[in-house]
Symmetry: C2
Subunit: 215 residues, 2 copies
C-alpha cells in the first residue's frame, strides 16, 4: 500500500506487460468482489489468469498493491451513467426523480453491492482506499445532485440553501435504506423503490419549496 509497496514495477514497460497486468487486475477484481481481500489467494488469481505468481509481484509489489490497483480501477465506472444524466431541462420533481432512479438502479446492481461491501469491510485496513472510494462514490453522486439543485435555484424554482447539503440529504434519503437492505440480501421490490423515491422527492420539494430556513 505505501509508496514502496507497488514500486517493484518492471523496469521496461511493454505492450505485453500492460496487457498482462490489465488481465490480472480484471480477474482479481471479480474475485475480490466476490470473496473479499482475505478470501482470495494469489495462487487462485494466477491460476485464473494464467502466468506466474512472480510476475504479479513484479507488477504490483505484493497482494496489497494489487488490491489497491484493483480498487482504484473499480472506483471509476460505477457512477458514469448517473453523472452523464442531463436533467437541466426537467422540472424539479422530474429531475430529482430521474437522477434518483438512475442512482438507485446503479447502486443496487450485484456488482456494486459487492463493491460497497468490500470498501466498508476493508476501509479499516486500507484507509486511503476508503477515502478514494468515498470521493468517487457517494460524494460524486451528491455532487451530481447538487449541480441539479443549484441549477434549479438559479432558475428560481428551488430555495435550498447550500446545494451540496441539500443534495446530501436527498441522496441519503433515497439510498441508505434501499442500499443496506439490498446488501443484506433482502432486495427491495420495484414498488418499494418507487415509493421511496417518490416520498424523498416529495419531502425534499416541500421542504425547499419556499424560502429556505436552513443556515
Amino acid at each position: 500500500m505505501s509508496a514502496e509497496a507497488a514500486a517493484r514495477r518492471p523496469v521496461r514497460r511493454t505492450r505485453r506487460g500492460d496487457e498482462k497486468s490489465e488481465q490480472i487486475r480484471l480477474a482479481a477484481a471479480e474475485m475480490f468482489l466476490e470473496r473479499g481481500f482475505d478470501g482470495v489467494s494469489l495462487d487462485e488469481i494466477v491460476k485464473a489468469v494464467g502466468g506466474s505468481k512472480a510476475n504479479v509481484y513484479t507488477h504490483f509489489g505484493n497482494k496489497e498493491g494489487l488490491f489497491a490497483a484493483v480498487v482504484e480501477g473499480l472506483c471509476e465506472g460505477f457512477l458514469a451513467s448517473v453523472v452523464a444524466i442531463d436533467a437541466s431541462g426537467l422540472s424539479p420533481e422530474e429531475g430529482l426523480a430521474r437522477l434518483a432512479r438512475a442512482l438507485v438502479e446503479t447502486l443496487l446492481q450485484d456488482r456494486h453491492l459487492a463493491f460497497h461491501r468490500l470498501m466498508i469491510a476493508e476501509s479499516g485496513r486500507f484507509p486511503a482506499l476508503g477515502r478514494v472510494w468515498f470521493e468517487s462514490g457517494p460524494e460524486t453522486s451528491r455532487r451530481a445532485l447538487a449541480r441539479f439543485v443549484a441549477a434549479q435555484q438559479r432558475a428560481g424554482r428551488l430555495d435550498a440553501g447550500d446545494p451540496h447539503r441539500a443534495a446530501t440529504l436527498f441522496h441519503d434519503m433515497v439510498t441508505f435504506n434501499l442500499l443496506v437492505r439490498a446488501m443484506l440480501g433482502d432486495r427491495p421490490s420495484e414498488g418499494e423503490i418507487g415509493q421511496t423515491i417518490d416520498a424523498a422527492v416529495a419531502v425534499f420539494l416541500r421542504g425547499y419549496a419556499g424560502r429556505s430556513i436552513i443556515p
Copy 2:
C-alpha cells in the same frame, strides 16, 4: 452456522461453564470488532482469555458458531439509550432533534463503527446474522422515531402519512453521511453534526407540516 454448528454444547451446564463461555464471548467480541472474522484466530482468543481451545469448541461448535454468538450478543445494547428516550412531551422540532442527537452520538462511537463495519463486511458470508443486525439496529432506530412521529400525528402536530416511512427518511438523512464518513476515519465535527441534524429536522418538518402528499 447451521443448526448443528453450535450444537456441541457441554451436556451438563454449570455456573463455571457459563462464566467461561461468557468470558470467551466478551474477549472474542473485542477482537472481532477490532480485526474482523478472518483477522482473529482461535489461538489468539484462547490466549487472551485463558483456557483451552478444545473448550471453545465444546461451547460454540466452531469458529462460526462463536462468531454468531458474539454478534447476537452485540446486537442488543447499542441502541438502548436511544430507545429509552421519552420525547413525547416535546415539540416536533425538539423531539426529533433530541432523538437524532442521541442516535448520532451512539452510532459514531468507535465501538459501534467497528460493529457496523463488521456486519456489512460479513453479511455476505453470514446472511442470517445480517438480518438479525438489521432488525436490532437500523430498524430499531427507525421504529423509535416512528413512534414519536405517530404520537405527533395523533396530537395533530404532524401529517406525515405512513410514520415508519417518514421515520426512515428522517433516520437516513441524519445518519448516512455522518456514519459513512466516520467509518472512513474522517470524523465529523460537532458543528457538522449539529448542522446535519438541524437541516434534516427543518426539511422533515417543512415537508410534513401541512397535509401529506405521500401515498
